[in-house]
Amino acid sequence: MSELTINGDRYEHEAPVGRSLAEVLREDLGLTGTKVACGEGHCGACTVQLDGVPVLSCITLVHTVGGREVTTIEGLRDHKLIDAFVRADAVQCGFCTPGQVVSAAALVEANPNPTSAEIRHAMSGNLCRCGTYPKIEEAIGKWHASP
């Protein structure tokens, strides 16, 4: 039995060695906002924060995160970035979007006024097949201009 802290809530959890954080979030805890698109750490859809730092939950083993603060998209639902993404139309099919928002939230926490180059650098690990990239850059650039 191990203890997980996710979005400020504590969970008692038992998982076999080898189970990924993404599997635990989605299948055991019902936190399906985190998406899995490749399952091998190449696309960024499953991004969550560990102590504020973006990590790929599909290749993070759950037994390694005990004692650390996990933040998923469910913990960022009231973040100003959500509104910024919607207003900029940085959402098409939406499957990559939660991961994009989680990465972007870590970026603006560390750097509230990122330049275009900084946005591109920080977000280049989050693939979007629909091609919302220009709108994502716009949304992050204007994130605190939300009404």
Binding site: A37, C38, E40, D89, C93, G94, C96, T97, R129
Partner: protein
């Protein structure tokens, strides 16, 4: 009165005659330009739900007792299963059922490509199912795979009836009499869709039938195909897709995975999910097929095209269909003499599937590069040569276009094109800058049948009900806008119920750029039906004639100055509702409905390393009325970004000996990232097609990806003088083209020196 009409239906460039029932009075189109809600920048109404991770994708569905399937796929491109033993697998931990080639038509014992489904297992967890599949003992008899499309032509190995020839005028004679002739071979590669949500379905036998949750572009197509496969009446198959994570043409049918899940669910009596892994996704769900295009263009000295011709070899794969790679050549320009042939070759490679403007993306790369090579030979400006060959009608069957504003697109291209010298002047050291353009032609008119219902409640709020799907293009929002516009109520008073074949009428496929042109008119018609009923009720309530009443800004107004809030009428209803229904009418008889456009690319090429950087793309398209300007710009950007991947980095690489795809993962299959995106300028000629439906809108999903590759290649020629003729334009291909250009230059210098 219901009218029975025979009309022509087009999807992805393929036409068929269909009977439809139309039960509506034709409506006048709205005036051109942005209206109150339609034509404006509207953020999508389900955007927050998606961004917050609350939208229900098939990947998120967990039904009580649900099992997980895994599929054994052939590791061989061509083989026979000489023996397979499933018995030991059935007793492995968690396994509840295992099926093989004898159990299901979608499983084979004669695989024709790497990834062909052989057997499948249902188990309590994904891990158990995957582990069990690895334990299935198979003995293979290996056969020699056919991988080369030219060899397939020699062997007459085709996916359909064989070569599809087309001819008009006298091609040979026109070429012989021309002032300038260019011939060139162009090649395009296999490109993988890589929707971020992989293909998947959950099948659940219930209510005397089956419910299928599936990530699909066509709820009704899945319903009909699965009803046929399962031997059920179609209404016993309920198909649900509330949100889906991308399709791009690959999710038009049920695939193998839906049948696998249905059969395993039937055997176990439990719901079964079959979700493909990323690697399976890149083997077994289709791809854009590779092409070889051997082309000829002939012109008189003033640039008038006198002949166009080409052999188009499509490397289709083990199954599939042969897209019209020759389509742009046949349709784009006025040219009287033409000869084309399409060869859809059958190979031991994974089957193709529609991928965003199948055929036209590839064919436009060939045609529009060829045209620039011709323009260079004749020393004519590339924009000018396109204007000189402007087509006023469809030369395939002499039909007029329902609308064509390509000339306006060219006019709007001028200020960007005029910067040619300025762009070239940015060249410095090994970095050469250039600018290129390419035209776009495609279908996208949509068609009937498609239906929508609207219910208006006593609170004055409307719900659009139709069993269409929003595959991420924003069609849900567009339908809400159209209903709000017609009803004259605020957008936030409209919701849209979609994604369930049991909850709403038949709706169009979301492919072929058809959702808005097919569904939009049906939604508007349904809203008009609601409006008509409101006026009838108001006339009775206020003792006025219907003809003096109208619905405006959420109020009933009369011509004598009376004005009542809508809720005063709807409020009479309590739990009652006003129910409107609408149908999509036919396309204009005897006309060709097409979309048009032009893109201008600015690129920089490092002539030492072969690196190509796209700096800017200007996209000018004519797709009739724009419903959501913001959503439309997103469609354009998305198409261009996929086009840039197609042009520069994406390539499904095949082991030439074994036919094994080597690029199954997203680290080696290189899709564009945010860091690869240039400046993109979108300019839409927002003019309704006067002959097309009550809306005048065509589709926009596909047009933006079509000209991107050719515009970039032509810009590279402008920058460097090199002819790139093979996609993707890797550094290797760029350096090859540069060497070839240098060689040609030396030869030219020698000839010049010799004649001097």
């Amino acid at each position: 009165m219901a009218r029975l009409i025979k009309t022509e239906k087009e999807v992805e460039g393929r036409y068929e005659d269909v009977w439809i029932v139309v039960d509506e009075d034709a409506l006048e189109q709205w005036p051109a330009g942005p209206l109150k809600v339609v034509g404006r920048d509207v953020p999508r109404i389900d955007g927050a739900e998606r961004a917050r991770g609350q939208a229900p994708y098939t990947a998120d569905i967990q039904l009580p007792g649900m099992l997980h399937a895994a599929v054994l796929r052939s590791p061989h491109a061509r083989a026979r299963v000489s023996s397979i033993d499933l018995a030991p697998v059935r007793s492995l931990p968690g396994v509840r059922a295992a099926i093989g080639p004898d159990d299901l038509d979608q499983l084979t014992d004669e695989p024709g490509y790497v990834g062909h489904a052989i057997a499948a297992v249902a188990a309590e967890t994904v891990g158990q199912a995957g582990a069990a599949v690895e334990q299935i003992a198979v003995e293979w008899e290996l056969l020699e795979p056919l991988l080369d499309p030219d060899e397939a032509v020699r062997q007459s190995s085709y996916v359909d009836d064989g070569p599809d020839p087309y001819e008009r005028g006298d091609f040979e004679r026109a070429v012989a009499g021309a002032d300038a002739v260019v011939e060139a071979e162009y090649r395009t590669q296999v490109v993988l869709h890589n929707s971020l949500e992989t293909h998947q379905a959950v099948c659940h036998w219930e209510d005397d039938g089956i419910t299928i949750y599936i990530s699909t572009q066509y709820i009704w197509g899945v319903r009909d195909a699965m009803a046929e496969r399962l031997g059920l009446p179609p209404d016993k198959v309920r198909v649900v897709c509330k949100a889906m994570g991308g399709g791009f043409g690959s999710k038009n049918g049920p695939g193998d995975y839906t049948s696998i899940a249905a059969e395993l669910a039937r055997r176990t009596g439990r719901p079964v999910k079959c979700a493909l892994t990323r690697r399976e996704e890149n083997l077994a769900t289709g791809n854009r097929n590779a092409t070889i295009q051997r082309l000829t263009a002939a012109a008189s000295g003033d640039g008038t095209l006198v002949a166009l011709g080409g052999d188009f070899v499509n490397a289709i794969g083990n199954a599939g269909w042969s897209p019209s790679t020759e389509g742009p050549m046949q349709l784009l320009y006025a040219c009287d003499n033409m000869r084309t042939a399409n060869y859809g070759t059958k190979l031991n490679t994974p089957p193709n599937a529609a991928f965003r403007a199948p055929g036209f993306v590839e064919g436009t790369f060939g045609l529009e590069c060829l045209l620039d090579e011709l323009a260079a030979k004749l020393d004519i400006d590339p924009l000018e040569i396109r204007r000189r060959n402007y087509a006023d009608s469809d030369r395939m069957d002499n039909r007029p276009f329902s609308s064509k504003n390509l000339a306006e697109c060219y006019r709007r291209a001028e200020p960007h094109w005029a910067k040619r010298d300025e762009v070239r002047a940015r060249s410095e050291g090994p970095w050469k800058h250039g600018i290129g353009l390419a035209s776009q032609i495609w279908y996208g008119g949509g068609g009937p049948p498609s239906y929508a219902w609207i219910r208006l409640g006593s609170d004055g709020r409307a719900q659009v009900v139709t069993a269409m799907q929003d595959i991420g293009t924003g069609s849900r929002t567009a339908m809400a806008q159209i209903a709000a516009e017609e009803l004259g109520i605020p957008l936030d008073h409209v919701s849209v119920s979609l994604g369930d074949s049991a909850r709403g009428p038949f709706a169009s496929i979301s492919a072929g750029s058809s959702t808005i042109p097919s569904m939009g008119p049906a939604v508007r018609a349904a809203a008009a039906d609601v409006k008509r009923q409101l006026i009838e009720i108001a006339a009775q309530r206020y003792h006025l004639e219907e003809r003096v009443l109208e619905l405006k800004d959420g109020r009933i107004v009369s011509s004598d100055g009376g004005s009542w809030p809508l809720e005063e009428i709807t409020g009479l209803l309590e739990d009652g509702q006003i129910l409107g229904k609408g149908a999509r009418g036919p396309n204009p008889t005897g006309m060709r409905v097409l979309t048009f456009g032009v893109q201008i690319a600015e690129v920089a090429v490092d002539t030492e390393t072969g690196e190509v950087r796209v700096d800017k793309i200007v996209a000018i398209h004519d797709v009739g009325r724009v419903v959501n300007a913001l959503g439309a710009s997103s469609q354009v950007e998305g198409g261009i970004i996929q086009g840039i991947g197609h042009t520069l980095s994406e390539d499904r690489i095949l082991d030439p000996e074994t036919g094994t795809p080597l690029t199954q993962t997203l680290d080696v299959y290189k899709m564009p990232t945010i860091a690869d995106v240039p400046e993109i300028v979108t300019d839409l000629v927002d003019v309704p097609d006067p002959h097309l439906t009550n809306l005048g809108s065509k589709g926009l999903g596909e047009p933006p990806i079509i000209p991107t590759a050719a515009a970039i290649a032509n810009a590279i020629r402008d920058a460097t003088g090199a002819d790139v003729r093979s996609l993707p334009i890797t550094r290797e291909e760029m350096l090859r083209a540069l060497r070839e250009a240098a060689e040609r230059q030396r030869e030219g210098d020698k000839v010049a020196a010799g004649s001097a």
